[in-house]
């Protein structure tokens, strides 16, 4: 085939090339026509538009979504902040204008001139920022004399405002200015320099929901830089409002109780996994990040030995101490090493190999069964259980109880904790596991590390009959119009490795911790509320090195860490809680009373509703301000003031 066809020869190509030349010339003719239209026919009009450079873009920042607690108490909103700028082109004479302005806002002329100097070379059409976030008095003073101050521009911008200063700061997080690395990372495609983004906590994790979309206006301005006509407007899209699972009343209570100490309190609804409290102490002032922090302030935050920037509830890893006995008890019962009738005699020490392992009570507990062992936290009982179960089975139960791995809470940098096993130690140190180490692990000392949140998930699972829920921080997300877009759903992450019988035995023991006259947490007993729990006292220095000092005389850094995990009421629990106080002393004296007070606040319903009502009334006073773009656009006269295109706020 194709034999009779002419192969493409030079003449054929020439013929086709002639056509190509014609087509190309035709295309250029189209360009020429368009050029003629733009430069000759429309030229006059377009020259006029270019001469004043009168079409400008003004961007409008979106109103970031607000953050509420589970009852609708407003925690974070935006306040209007007024920025003072100058447009050099319109501010002639610049010197005189600056002098007048300096007097009004009480800033030295030299400072202002320096700011202008720094921006030399920038377009004289672009506003140069002179002072951010000026106070009400300055605002009024400038406003009144605005006709005397050509080229001075006031922009109103929404600024993040943390209403409950320092409260739940670690959970909520903070905003601060985007840095150049973040800009380059490509993770924030819509951001430009100077924008604020969430850097920590909920503000960071839910950045996308909260942020909203930037808007802007295309405007025509006159020679004075005043807006003559708004050509196009793109409304900024307000961010979505977030309702957290936390209960501000409990949160506030927890923070008050932790005041002055380092530690964490977390509480959960055992039936849903909703985090009711997440307090970490000491806290920090989130507003300082928004308003700009001095280098010194930042240094002092970072160098503080109590680590205020750490969310101890999820990042703090500590030996779980006697709270771990819950796990050892489950392991012992499940493995059949003990049952509810097993008794052990505690003389105050346990001899293993050629070493003496002491019980915390020097005189011993006498004859001990599982209930008494939990209630009075007898070390000797659990040494023996641990020894019989063995380290690897113990590690299995601990892991199945949720220890040693992150709970999966939707926050950054959650710590995993550590559950040691023989293989782990061999891998890590090259040395084989020693039998005595199992005894330490059985009472929560040794290599064990847990976060308060992990202990909370464990106590919550005990409370609800064995189901581990993922800790939830997001209750719902609503649009500005109040439509719910996302609903936090409870999520089962596993079950405790315990039969119903085992759970019943352990729970009975935990109830006695608070309710038996010799229970370690009898201090947490409240009339009318049935609390179950487990104390823990994590030694910081080895017991045998302990100088013969009474705890009161010990320097703070040698004091043990105090733990208390609990749930209440013992039947049909409504709240589970984990309290941790760094160097707080005994779990019974430092941690248990905090848990008791929070439980009391939550479960004494009359008092609770009274407080909620009081908060709600306060809340009305601080009612969320309307999103900026919901207001009518600036009038012509006003518009000269708002080159950033926002209507003024009252």
């Amino acid at each position: 085939m194709g034999k009779y066809l002419k192969t493409a020869d030079t003449d054929w190509y020439k013929q086709r090339l002639t056509r190509v030349m014609l087509c190309v010339s035709g295309a250029f003719f189209i360009l020429l026509l368009r050029l003629f239209y733009l430069q000759v026919i429309e030229g006059q009009e377009l020259r006029r538009l270019s001469e004043n450079n009168c079409i400008r873009l003004q961007s409008t920042d979106a109103f970031r979504g607000m953050i509420f607690d589970r009852n609708g108490i407003l925690l974070v909103d935006n306040r209007p902040a007024f920025d003072l700028s100058i447009i050099l082109k319109d501010a002639k004479p610049v010197d005189r204008t600056i002098e007048k302005l300096a007097k009004l806002i009480d800033v030295p002329v030299s400072d202002l001139m320096k700011k202008i100097g720094n921006n030399k070379g920038f377009s004289s059409y672009k506003p140069i920022l002179l002072k951010q976030d000026i106070g009400r008095d300055c605002l009024a003073a400038v406003e009144v004399r605005k006709f005397d101050l050509p080229g001075i521009v006031l922009n109103v911008k929404p600024r993040r405002h943390y209403i409950k200063t320092q409260s739940a700061a670690h959970l909520i997080g903070y905003l601060s200015e985007i840095n150049s690395d973040e800009l380059k990372s490509g993770k924030y495609p819509e951001c430009k320099g100077g924008d604020f983004i969430g850097k920590f906590g909920v503000e960071k994790v839910f950045e996308r929901l909260l942020k909203g979309g930037r808007g802007g206006r295309q405007v025509e301005v006159n020679v004075m830089g005043q807006v003559v006509k708004v050509l196009k407007t793109v409304d900024a899209l307000p961010g979505q409002n977030i309702y957290l699972t936390i209960d501000y009343i409990l949160q506030k209570k927890a923070e008050a109780l932790l005041e002055g100490a380092a530690g964490a309190v977390v509480a959960m609804d055992p039936e849903t996994g909703d985090i009711l409290v997440m307090a970490s102490s000491p806290s920090f002032d989130q507003n300082a990040f928004v308003d700009g922090m001095s280098h010194k302030q930042w240094e002092s935050l970072i160098s503080n030995s109590l680590r205020p920037m750490e969310n101890k509830a999820i990042q703090g890893e500590y030996p779980p101490a006697s709270t771990f006995k819950i796990v050892t008890a489950i392991a012992g019962l499940e493995e059949g090493v003990i049952d509810e009738n097993t008794t052990v005699t505690c003389p105050g020490y346990y001899k293993y190999g050629n070493r003496i392992y002491r019980c915390w009570r020097h005189g011993g507990h006498g004859s001990v069964n599982i209930f008494k062992a939990l209630a009075e936290s007898c070390d000797v009982f659990f040494y023996q259980v641990g020894q019989k179960v063995g380290i690897d089975r113990l590690a299995f139960y601990a892991k199945a109880c949720g220890l040693g791995s992150a709970t999966g809470i939707n926050l950054d940098d959650e710590a995993a904790g550590l559950i040691p096993s023989a293989a782990w130690k061999k891998r890590r140190t090259g040395i084989a596991w020693q039998g005595g180490e199992t005894l330490s692990v059985a009472i929560g000392q040794g290599y064990n590390l847990s976060t308060p949140l992990q202990m909370l998930v464990l106590s919550s699972a005990l409370a609800n009959g064995g189901t581990k829920y993922k800790p939830l921080i997001l209750k719902s997300v609503k649009t500005v119009d109040g439509n719910i877009v996302i609903h936090g759903k409870k999520q089962v992450i596993g079950r405790l490795p315990a039969s119903e019988k085992t759970l019943a035995i352990v729970k009975k023991g935990l109830r006695e911790v608070v309710n038996s006259p010799k229970g370690t947490a009898r201090i947490a007993h409240i009339k009318g509320i049935d609390i179950s729990g487990k104390t823990g006292t994590a030694q910081v220095v080895g017991r045998h090195n302990e100088p013969n000092l009474s705890e009161k005389d010990m320097p703070d850094q040698y004091k043990p860490h105090a733990w208390f995990v609990a749930y209440a009421p013992s039947v049909d629990p409504q709240i589970a809680i984990a309290v941790f106080v760094e160097h707080g002393g005994h779990g019974s004296s430092a941690a248990a009373p905090i848990a008791r007070e929070i439980i009391r606040t939550y479960l004494e319903k009359d008092e609770y509703s009274r407080q909620l009502k009081a908060e709600s009334i306060k809340n009305l006073g601080a009612s969320p301000r309307l999103p900026l773009q919901a207001r009518p656009p600036a009038e012509q006269g006003e518009a000269a003031w708002g080159t950033s295109g926002q209507a003024q706020l009252e």
Binding site: L35, I55, G215
Partner: protein, 367 residues
């Protein structure tokens, strides 16, 4: 090997034309980078001169090489370029949300610019081997389709829709030049109308937005719409004689986006007016006709098609870039040959000129 006829047949006219446009380009770039605020980028101007020097070397090397040897080398050239594209996709530098850059010591280049030449050479090889007056059938077009589709997909992934589009347009230009069988052409047109909407779904959000904005700039008054308006104001305000060198105000105040790369024509048109713009368009048209004339005089099918392909590349870049600045085309990042700032763009266009020279001066070497 050196033949005195090289000097006699050397295409001095093409060299002169190149210098003329290049000079125009440097002058315009000077204006674009010096009067730009907030920060004049004078360094870019000197860098561009360095690019021109490197480009010139590339040009000399390309015309010293007998273009016929490219016939043999074309599979290797193509393979290397594709590998570079894949490498860039995986390890390239991330700039402004796209991976287009390959870092070579102090400089970064865009392999996608070189790929355009590689595609032209490969297509010229294939078409020159099989061309007949009947035209190519669908089945015969499968190879050229794959040769184009592979780099197209890789470039779209970067993502760089503009360059990817140019690759397809160049390939289309060459294919139509060597003729498609009538019935096959009909099939292609029908299948394109069907698959067109499908491609629409494959485009990224911002790419769709750009096309929609092209049709109706009001859709994005703060972004593309604003750029088109500012570019039109810049061009139109030049009127007949222009505002004069360094006097363009749209440019000076950064009202134009990317004024030294994609929107450089607006700078030129503002400062030199209708008269200057017509001159530069005329120079480009002359260059393109010159290239086609080289194809016309070449008596070897491979050389002819190669010259057509290279010229097609110049044509599309000029047409799209200028059309975009005047609001006739969607806003896609396509450089204006010789004038826009950019090392890869300058080097590849100078190589193209060198190849045209190579074809031009070897026209006597037939058989």
């Amino acid at each position: 090997m050196f033949d005195r006829r090289f000097v006699t047949y050397f295409d001095w006219g093409l060299l002169g034309l190149t210098f003329l446009i290049g000079l125009f380009g440097l002058v315009t770039l000077y204006s674009a980078v010096t009067s730009a605020t907030p920060t004049p980028q004078k360094a870019l101007y000197f860098k561009q001169i360095v690019w021109y020097c490197i480009g010139m070397t590339g040009m000399v090397l390309s015309f010293l090489i007998n273009y016929k040897s490219l016939y043999r080398w074309s599979p290797a050239i193509y393979a290397v370029c594709i590998l570079l594209l894949i490498y860039v996709l995986m390890m390239g530098k991330y700039v402004g949300g796209a991976r287009r850059w390959l870092i070579l010591g102090p400089v970064s280049i865009q392999p996608s610019e070189l790929v355009k030449i590689a595609v032209v050479i490969s297509l010229a090889r294939y078409y020159s081997k099989f061309a007949d007056t009947r035209g190519f059938s669908l089945r015969e077009l499968l190879t050229p389709f794959l040769l184009t589709a592979i780099p197209f997909i890789l470039i779209v992934k970067q993502p760089d829709l503009g360059t990817a589009m140019v690759v397809v347009l160049i390939a289309g230009f060459i294919t139509i030049f060597v003729k498609i069988e009538r019935r096959s052409l009909l099939y292609i047109i029908i299948s394109c109308t069907i698959t067109g909407p499908l491609v629409w779904f494959l485009l990224k959000g911002y790419q769709k937005e750009r096309i929609l904005t092209f049709i109706n700039p009001d859709r994005d008054p703060l972004g593309a719409g604003y750029h088109i308006i500012q570019s039109k104001i810049a061009i139109g305000s030049g009127m007949i004689f222009g505002k004069g060198f360094l006097k363009g105000t749209q440019n000076a105040l950064s009202f134009l986006p990317e004024q030294h790369t994609d929107f450089i024509f607006s700078v030129l048109a503002e400062e030199w007016g209708f008269v200057g713009s017509v001159v530069i368009l005329f120079l480009f048209l002359t260059l393109i006709i010159w290239g086609l004339n080289i194809a016309y005089r070449c008596r070897d099918p491979f050389g002819t098609i190669l010259a057509v392909g290279i010229t097609a590349m110049m044509f599309w870049q000029v047409f799209i870039n200028v059309g975009m600045a005047m609001g006739l085309m969607p806003i896609v990042g396509v450089t204006l040959p010789f004038i826009s700032y950019g090392g890869s763009s300058i080097i590849s266009i100078m190589i193209c000129v060198g190849l045209l020279m190579s074809i031009s001066m070897r026209r006597f070497l037939i058989e």
